[in-house]
């Protein structure tokens, strides 16, 4: 242990801890800005400087390792003056139109300004020195350099967590900025739209593109029927933006709030998550049969899940040679969209022309996905507008809804029925678990051999998880699988995805089925979720997801009565011609930069 003092209070910390961590242990708050619990230390904003006895300069507490005998002071006049200067400098470069800003009241720079730099500006305004164009080219993300404070959290997110490197630092001195390859628009680089950078941006420099006003217009247009679907991960995170602690499940209130906002039908993406399991599970079993029984060399294994549009764009850019391995299933959002303007429209007898289909997603990449040209199989744009969890919270506030006092209510039907299997789509490993619950039962007629059908090996926050499921007691038509060991892998966060993909590309992986989610923790850590984020917050949301699963009466996708009905009345059977037409898609190869 290392012994040091902070503000004269002794503290002992393990070797390798920083001064900042030591201070946290003593509950001494040191302000930070470029620091983020998910990212490596940068030490570039200098807001966290503190005084070390006898040192020539102040030290950055986030990057300074604690050493034996150190005497640290966190609140001397010297420190306060330096911090004030630093915050004032950041403000002088920042276009502070706070009242109009998407991040107003949830901005780390604003919070620091409140503490250190209220009153008159100390320095000259430098905002006008730079010509900042706001990049609105992406369907998902808006990049406004005039609000950027160069903390490089986004760059670290994009390279460390996501291994995408769509954004990087360019230029030096006064021309230094966060840029893209050759300064191209965000829409024309490898950006996967995952929005992880948005989650970690301390200011309003990176935000999602918002469609709130479009949705209000639709709601108030009497000629339109506006239907809304809500993704599994939204119900365990929305509360955070409305004053609840992370991990609070607000499903029933969420439904009530959507009704109060004026949506005509409040439906559940869970329904189409279950549908995805039917389609994807069948696709997997078909591929296995083709490969193992028919000896078809063309069949690509392992098969990859395709629910995460950030992941889809990643593989399209970085591993196009592996696209045949990607399940052809659309994501639940898009399956829902395709059915909304066909099956659902028939059911409620509304002209699909007059349906506006909105989805509430934990995700920014879903905005891009909904705009893909492939996503019009209903004959219309399948999903018209995608809102993030954060945008929904804003709408709820705009409408003056007292969320805490709302009663709970249930989703509408059809396409509002959920199962525990669908709910766990929101957590890393959830799609895998849901698929195994169903596929195992299709093949053997029995439940998966895990206590309470909780397949623990595929759960958890480890970056890459592996599991092997032995298939025993097959029904006759699946006897070719008897005794087979199904090897599965699960990765979340694109850096982990990249690890798995490079192993697959090198031919070094013997998996059959791989689940990939672009975001850390899966959808609950999506780029559209409430800010801030951290491992602890994501863990709370995951715990809530599994609690929700356990609370459901039905916990297997194939038992969802509405799913049974949609096959019986509309689609025929999984992977039928009609299902292929509406629920499956194809992918495109994209450039690598």
């Amino acid at each position: 242990m290392i012994n040091l003092t902070i503000n004269s209070n002794p503290v002992a910390v393990p070797e390798g801890w920083t001064v900042l961590q030591a201070a946290e242990k003593l509950n001494v708050r040191i302000p930070t800005l470029c620091n983020h619990p998910d990212l490596c230390v940068a030490g570039n904003c200098r807001v966290c400087v503190v005084e070390q006895k006898d040192a020539r300069t102040l030290i950055a507490s986030c990057s300074q390792p604690a050493t034996e005998g150190m005497e640290i002071m966190t609140n001397t006049l010297k420190v306060r003056n330096a911090r004030k200067h630093i915050v004032e400098l950041l403000l002088s470069e920042h276009r502070a139109d706070c009242t109009k800003c998407y991040r107003n009241q949830n901005c780390e720079l604003q919070a620091l300004a409140n503490e250190f730099a209220f009153g008159d500006h100390l320095f000259l305004d430098l905002v006008g020195e730079h010509e900042h164009l706001i990049d609105r080219t992406s369907a998902s993300i808006i990049k406004d350099d005039s609000k950027c404070i160069r903390c490089q959290r986004c760059v670290r997110t994009c390279t460390e967590l996501q291994k995408v490197s769509a954004i990087a630092v360019s230029g030096k001195g006064h021309e230094q900025k966060i840029s893209t390859f050759h300064d191209r628009p965000i829409s024309h680089v490898v950006c996967t739209n995952c929005g992880q950078c948005v989650n970690r941006c301390p200011t309003g420099a990176l935000t999602e593109k918002t469609y709130i006003d479009h949705v209000w217009d639709a709601i108030y247009d009497p000629s339109k029927k506006v239907i809304v679907q809500t993704a599994p991960a939204v119900r365990v995170a929305l509360g955070e933006d409305l004053g609840y602690d992370p991990g609070e499940r607000v499903t029933g209130k969420l439904v009530s709030a959507l009704r109060q906002l004026g949506f005509d039908y409040v439906l559940d993406t869970d329904f189409s998550a279950d549908l995805t399991i039917m389609e994807e599970g069948t696709e997997l079993l078909t591929r296995l049969k083709k490969a193992l029984v028919d000896g078809d060399k063309e069949t690509s294994l392992p098969m990859f899940t395709s629910c995460s549009p950030g992941w889809i764009k990643f593989i399209e850019h970085k591993y196009p040679e592996l696209l045949p391995n990607l399940s052809t299933c659309k994501s639940p959002q898009q399956m829902f969209g395709a059915l909304a303007k066909t099956y659902f429209a028939d059911n409620v007898k509304v002209d699909p022309e007059n349906i506006v289909s909105v989805s509430i997603m934990p995700c920014t990449a879903k905005k891009f996905e909904a705009n893909r040209p492939e996503m019009r199989d209903s004959g219309y744009k399948d999903v018209d507008f995608v809102l993030t969890t954060r945008e929904l919270a804003i709408m709820i506030k705009q409408a003056g809804i007292d969320f805490r006092r709302l009663d709970t209510s249930n989703y509408d039907s059809v396409m509002g029925e959920s199962t525990g299997a669908a709910v766990i789509f929101g957590a890393t490993g959830g799609v895998m678990e849901a698929a195994l619950r169903t596929a195992y039962e299709i093949v053997t007629g029995k439940e998966v051999p895990f206590e309470n059908i909780n397949i623990m090996p595929v759960r958890g926050m480890e970056g890459v998880k592996e599991a092997t499921i032995k298939i025993e007691g097959c029904l006759k038509e699946w006897s070719f699988l008897e005794g087979a060991e199904l090897n599965v892998a699960i990765a979340h966060g694109l850096t982990n995805a990249d690890k798995v993909m490079s192993a697959v590309a090198r031919g070094e992986a013997n998996y059959h089925f791989i689940e990939i989610m672009a975001c850390p923790g899966g959808c609950i850590g999506g780029g559209g979720q409430p800010i801030p984020t951290s491992t602890a917050i994501r863990q709370n949301r995951i715990d809530a997801i599994y609690a929700e699963d356990m609370s459901m009466a039905i916990r297997k996708s194939h038992e969802n009565p509405e799913v049974v009905a949609v096959y019986k009345n509309f689609l025929g059977e999984p992977n039928s011609h009609k299902a292929h037409e509406l629920l499956h898609t194809h992918y495109v190869e994209r450039m690598r930069y």
Binding site: N44, Q64, I86, K172, G173, H174
Partner: protein
């Protein structure tokens, strides 16, 4: 305080038999070399003035088997051109210093990080390096040197940014600690020294630490190559013992009308006439990487300051707040005062800002902007305002 008269010496550029020195160093071995370096009192000639013997000792003590020697030949400080001259005339001594350092710390590979603009020296240097490699092989050294070309950013002369650049990344300084002797190039223990420091190692091994220490002063032993420029009838490169006063220097090199000397380039200090007599050029007074620029009374110190600030606002790597924005604020701030848009009292705010930059910037660049700024503003305030 001990001072020296102007004393010209000729050690850096004198031709010697490198084999003899390298054989001697080889026999001395790690401990012997490090002891000589420690005893000599030599401090780094790249600007920061860290005791070279200590640096080598720290690196030698690291258990990691893979280590590197890096020669910093980025020479980006405005007004310095001595490293180019050294490489041009006695590159074998630079290589020799690297081999001695390698022997001292146990490194087998070395890099010379050469300023991009000095590319024209490469063909000649590579030829000489070939011969050098053959020679040290015969003596028994297990050491190879490679060249890396810089790409014109001043910040890449900062040692950790230089490592990043050699590693193929964007040249940005790293957080310290860890220091290079523990975790440097490719994450391995590394000795990085200025061109001239390495030549000094050859001199120390050849003549012994005692003789070396007899030059200069107690805190600034040895001699140093100065790049003299500005308002002087005799610009050029001079090797002088350390420890002379600024007054001595100006008497020797000035044009009779010197009002200030900028010691140490943009990152250094401006010494005004009234302080010439009491300012020692050396580590006990104002240190310098070699740049000595004289200004006579025809010069506008506002323009001098403006040039430096322009330089820093452009050459800051931009990663840390005090430096990236502070340099712009200082530049725009003096402009605004000059134009009368800000009151002259605003200069006091800027001086305070420069102090903050000194103590809170991440690397030596941001930390040294205040040297020139404050010494010029304090001594030539009227010239800045009017």
């Amino acid at each position: 305080m001990e001072t020296r008269k102007i004393t010209k010496v000729d050690l850096i550029f004198e031709h010697i038999d490198p084999r003899e020195v390298l054989v001697k160093a080889y026999k001395l071995g790690s401990e012997g070399i490090i002891q000589e370096m420690l005893d000599s009192g030599v401090k780094g000639r790249g600007g920061a003035g860290f005791p070279t013997g200590m640096k080598w000792k720290f690196c030698a003590a690291e258990p990691e088997p893979e280590k590197y020697i890096v020669c910093n030949a980025d020479e980006g400080e405005p007004g310095t051109f001595k490293d180019r001259e050294i490489l041009d005339r006695v590159s074998y001594k630079v290589f020799g210093g690297m081999a001695i350092a390698a022997r001292a710390v146990g490194a087998r590979r070395g890099y010379v990080y050469l300023r991009g603009e000095y590319k024209f020296l490469m063909p000649q240097l590579l030829m000489e390096l070939d011969g050098f490699h053959k020679m040290i092989d015969e003596i028994g050294y297990d050491f190879r040197i490679e060249f890396k070309l810089g790409s014109g950013a001043y910040i890449c002369g900062e040692e950790s940014a230089l490592f990043e650049s050699i590693e193929g990344k964007r040249g940005e300084p790293r957080n310290k600690p860890p220091y290079p002797t523990k975790c440097g190039l490719f994450g391995k223990p590394t000795v990085v020294n200025n061109v001239e420091t390495l030549v000094n190692a050859v001199i120390i091994i050849k003549y012994g630490s005692e003789k070396y220490r007899s030059m200069g002063t107690q805190f600034s032993t040895g001699a140093k190559v100065f790049s003299v420029s500005g308002d002087t009838p005799t610009p050029g490169i001079y090797e002088l013992e350390l420890g002379m006063t600024c007054l001595e220097f100006v008497k020797e090199f000035g044009d009779g009308d010197a009002k200030a000397v900028q010691v140490g380039g943009a990152a250094g200090f401006c010494v005004p006439r009234k302080a010439f007599a009491k300012t020692i050029i050396g580590f006990e007074g104002v240190p310098t990487g070699g740049s000595m620029k004289l200004f006579n009374s025809s010069r506008s110190m506002y323009n001098v300051l403006h040039n430096y600030l322009d330089f820093f606002a452009e050459e800051s790597c931009g990663q840390c707040t005090p430096c990236r924005i502070g340099t712009q604020q200082l530049l725009r701030g003096v402009e605004a005062v000059k134009r009368g848009e800000m009151k002259s009292a605003y200069l006091n705010e800027l001086v305070k800002l420069a102090e903050t930059m000194k103590i809170s910037s991440k690397c030596g660049l941001g930390q040294s902007v205040g040297n020139a700024f404050n010494s010029i503003v304090e001594n030539f305030r009227e010239e800045i305002i009017y």
